[in-house]
Symmetry: C2
Subunit: 338 residues, 2 copies
């Protein structure tokens, strides 16, 4: 008998389709992958072309000595050349009959994660991954100073089916002048849960997952990676901080180091277990009007692109997951890392 499961945090329902369920091994990417070169002359993110990108907003130099624009770097942040939102301009709303619009102001940055064209988070050193997370924090703190901004989304697209054609490892930050309705709705649900129980729904979920154990993937000192009980798609994974923090901006230096290890570990399990699948991850944090709260808790959501959403998902907002979360987690736990 199939099972319907409800996500306590988002209230989304998912159909766990036992009748059409696949074994974890069936999701392993079969396609052979051509290795990428370390340096690609046509890539705008490869070193030596720093003057060809839009203006730089931040960098971590390769050596602590730092140095000028031309000196080696470990991580660089630049404005997106094809920005979805414009940096300059006022936030104005226009209502004209059924047409509700706003000026598209906001911030859209690209985080170039590594100088090497073929670097993969799963194969970087932990200290390189920590530099990426440190950069996320720097940009989050800088961007939230902008009074026009209401919400910040940091995300990574890896591979064509995850929505990117750029091979060079990079993440993006989009800061919007509105709170996206999905984010607003989750905050409302979290407030209701807090009202009803006096608890943070995320802290409660984490506690129960640690007790149940069967959906855990990686535990480190400060973070826990697990497959949610009502995972929307195969190998959909969450990384929660153990400490209650509403905003990603609250992450401290020790936690950055620890998260680097946890994130690299999860992505290595995807890489070795599922054969370098395309994936997205996204940092979900509280909107900026409410940076500290007892009821919201930031986290990272990772989605390997091993299945395809179709008309049912588009038409109903419900998902069909053809993998059992407990089985997927068991598979990822057993992946042998070098």
């Amino acid at each position: 008998m199939p099972e319907l499961r409800q996500n306590l945090i988002s209230r989304d329902w998912v159909i766990i389709a036992t009748e059409r369920a696949k074994r974890p091994e069936e999701f392993v990417k079969r396609k052979e992958q051509k290795p990428l070169p370390e340096y690609n002359d046509t890539c705008p993110f490869c070193p030596g072309k720093e003057d060809k990108t839009p203006p730089e907003t931040f960098r971590i130099p390769a050596s602590p000595a730092g140095g000028g624009d031309k000196k080696p770097w470990q991580v660089r942040v630049v404005y997106n050349k094809f920005a979805a939102l414009a940096c300059a301009g006022e936030k104005t709303r226009n209502i004209n009959g059924i047409c509700r619009s706003m000026n598209g102001v906001g911030i859209h940055e690209v985080i170039i994660e590594h100088p090497k064209h073929n670097a993969l988070t799963a194969l970087m050193t932990e200290s390189e991954v920590a530099n990426i997370i440190r950069t996320y924090k720097n940009r989050y703190l800088a961007v939230q100073q902008d009074k026009r901004i209401e919400s910040i989304t940091i995300f990574k697209n890896h591979g064509a089916s995850a929505g990117t054609s750029l091979e060079h490892p990079h993440s993006q930050l989009i800061a919007t002048p509105i709170v996206p309705p999905q984010v607003r709705q989750r905050v409302t649900e979290a407030v209701n849960y807090f009202d009803d129980t006096g608890r943070c729904v995320f802290c409660h979920t984490l506690q129960e997952e640690l007790k149940a154990k069967e959906r855990l993937v990686v535990e480190t000192e400060n973070f826990v990676a697990f497959i949610p009980y009502a995972a929307l798609s195969p190998f959909h994974t969450w990384i929660f901080p153990r400490r209650h923090m509403a905003s990603f901006a609250q992450i401290n230096e020790a936690e950055i180091t620890d998260l680097a290890g946890n994130l690299k570990n999860v992505l290595s399990r995807f890489y070795y277990g599922l054969n370098n699948p395309d994936f997205n991850y996204t940092v979900r944090s509280i909107p900026l009007d409410n940076r500290e709260s007892d009821y919201f808790h930031w986290y990272i959501s990772l989605i390997p692109r091993v299945s395809q959403t179709a008309g049912f998902e588009l038409g109903s907002g419900m998902f069909i997951n053809v993998a059992l979360p407990e089985e997927s987690a068991g598979f990822l736990r057993k992946v042998k890392l070098p």
Copy 2:
């Protein structure tokens, strides 16, 4: 300057990314497509293998004379062999700590749209398309008698990137024992709009789109196809009935004939204009607990798969549309049909 647009009906915001916008021609599928055969011996939906499919729930015979199982048919409906939900069983809810679940009972049917393996809705006759819609209505009316069912989603997946690997033309019906939260939320928004204005938000939208004209695609006697002002993706199209009807079940025979012409026309514009793109469409209707209402209005939503959602969409629930709705509609209006 990019523009943020809000969908009045769903409250979703979309970024219309003018800085990275593409011309309509850039969305035309470049891949060459191998023509499919009229009959495929390994296809379970091709005629002659009727006894190999799960039980049939409905059929439209090829000639009015009808006849037995082996006689030619125009449309057939069978239970899905790999059903996401089980037909038999009680609706029971289980709450165990953070784990909220339900028995996965419901109905999952496959509508085999045409006996020919290579038939395409865009190229069928209008009367063949009308038979498909007639079948949708028959199944909707039959399934809504089941007391366990709360909501019915009818949808079609065409092509691999739209989530199907089965080539034979087919649609699906999934009837769920809960109202999906996305559907429930839209009903709530529609009720609020009705409270505030005394109007159906769908009727109001249609009236304004008919006045504005620039986003219209196809007008027929009873239906209007247009690209919504805040379309989430390139060529995202809605077909609204002109008459106020909350439930798809209320469509009458004259409207079925007219919708067949409108739907075929829109899909032909996709087929000839965008080179047979993969697409999904879905019939959005009111949940069954509220079949007649002044505030809700059923419609069809069509999504050609010409772009890819990525981390930003997953992380925020907001979309970035790299096509201007007005330009996309103009392009579709100008497609030359044979």
